[in-house]
Subunit: 256 residues, 2 copies
DNA sequence: GTCTATAAGATGATAGAC
DNA sequence: GTCTATCATCTTATAGAC
């Protein structure tokens, strides 16, 4: 139920092929000060929004901060995206599509490789986590910021349920279904809760808060995502095996 | 280095015994409209802040929203706490002290019980997680909101490192030290990372976003914290065992 | 597509009466 | 300890010139 911006197109049509040539300073541009660096305004805004939303949250990063960081005019957020909320949506969409495609590709690859059998638990968990941790660690500052934002969204009462569901759960369903095939005796509820634990452990990693650095006296570094990945996969796999190897009807382990 | 509020005490002295009697409407109060329900203004503000910070984040919950929800005047936040940031600090302190005390008590109890041996992994993890999940599930709406806030703070780039360290790491250190005694052959880095995974899985649970409800088609409910606890302890314990049973020098499992 | 200018209201914080 | 009133600034968003 968003207010409809009167008398103007919400999203200007944009042929994907018509991306402006990356020239720096040419002849006569009407007035524009900074479509600079050959990066289109739209992308500049997305980059800055990603960075500031990650740093200070959706409410903490203002449209003014964002446009200032992007080096473009304040009004251009509303011109290109329609509203601040719609800007957040665009930020999340941009990279989630890339990630979802890669995750599906990797999952399918390890399923195919194992045929006519099934892939191992570790292989599937790896296909699910590696695209994310790898890009956060090696994809550059944009990806790093994106995952920092995901970390906050996932744990947010306000956004967690809707946004994560919308952008990631289609792929998560395929992932969970595969896991259930590998763990045929499991109670489906156990599998879902194990996925939940994986999600929490993974997204806290994205936040790179530096807490573990302090806690461990420098032994561990938040930014060392390879070390995390090396450990996250066997940690989670062991958890899945502990809970999902048996049917566990009627509740496990009552306490007290 | 916060600005020093000129010419006024930042925190008015407050004898703990002098809590006003819980009368509803008596004779002649000078002008006050709502110290109502026998709940002191300070507490009313803390309750409302907790609720709104949990719902919309620190930046998303305004001082005006908070005081309106508390039914008190806007100016009273600055009178009682000095600033919005200081209000957040007070919100976090209030319940963390209770939790830390209970966690230490439970941990010590299971250490004593096991003497001259050591407690089990499951017992220690239970002592660490049960006070939180139990209060979130049965402590009432104030506790529920508090943990929702913790969920966001833990995954926040802005606050995660400083705030979690300040309020919880003293107890976490004791916890980790105990775990290392139980897992004498482990690489300390593995133990820290396992704690990190536990922290992520636990705090995502606090957020109760409803995502798992949707994903599981209603099989799991975010609000069913007993089910989570039942599974979290063995999940995490299995993860610890998988990683921390061996010294693992020189990095485990290289991938590709 | 980008700019200037501004609307219309929200924000954190303070001074001073009571 | 609580109120009224207000400050100075920031907020998202829009209208219209170029």
């Amino acid at each position: 139920m968003q207010k409809d911006p009167p008398g103007r197109a919400r999203r200007p049509a944009r042929g994907k092929g018509s991306t402006p040539a990356p020239e720096l300073e040419t002849a006569h541009r009407p007035r524009g000060p900074r479509p600079a660096q050959g990066r289109p305004t739209r992308e500049r805004i997305l980059d800055a929004a990603e960075k500031l939303f990650a740093r200070r949250g959706f409410h903490g990063g203002s449209v003014r901060d964002i446009t200032q960081d992007a080096g473009v005019d304040v009004a251009l957020v509303n011109y290109h995206f329609g509203s601040k909320q719609a800007l957040l949506d665009s930020v999340l969409t941009r990279r989630s599509e890339i990630l979802n495609a890669e995750r599906m590709r990797l999952l399918q690859a390890c399923i195919d490789k194992a045929k006519p059998g099934l892939p191992t638990l570790d292989e599937v968990i790896d296909a699910f986590t590696h695209p994310l941790l790898n890009r956060s660690g090696r994809g550059g500052p944009g990806w790093k910021a994106y995952f920092g934002l995901i970390a906050q969204v996932n744990n947010s009462t306000e956004f967690g349920g809707v946004i994560m569901t919308k952008y990631f759960d289609p792929v998560v369903r395929v992932f969970v279904d595969t896991l259930r095939k590998i763990l045929p005796d499991s109670d489906p509820r156990d599998v879902y809760w194990c996925y939940h634990f994986l999600s929490g452990a993974l997204t806290l990693t994205f936040a790179e808060t530096g807490r573990i650095d302090n806690l461990s006296g420098g032994l561990c570094r938040s930014s060392d995502l390879d070390s995390v990945h090396q450990r996250l996969v066997p940690f989670v796999a062991a958890g899945f095996r502990a809970l999902c190897a048996t049917p566990s009807r009627g509740g496990r382990r009552s306490k007290g």
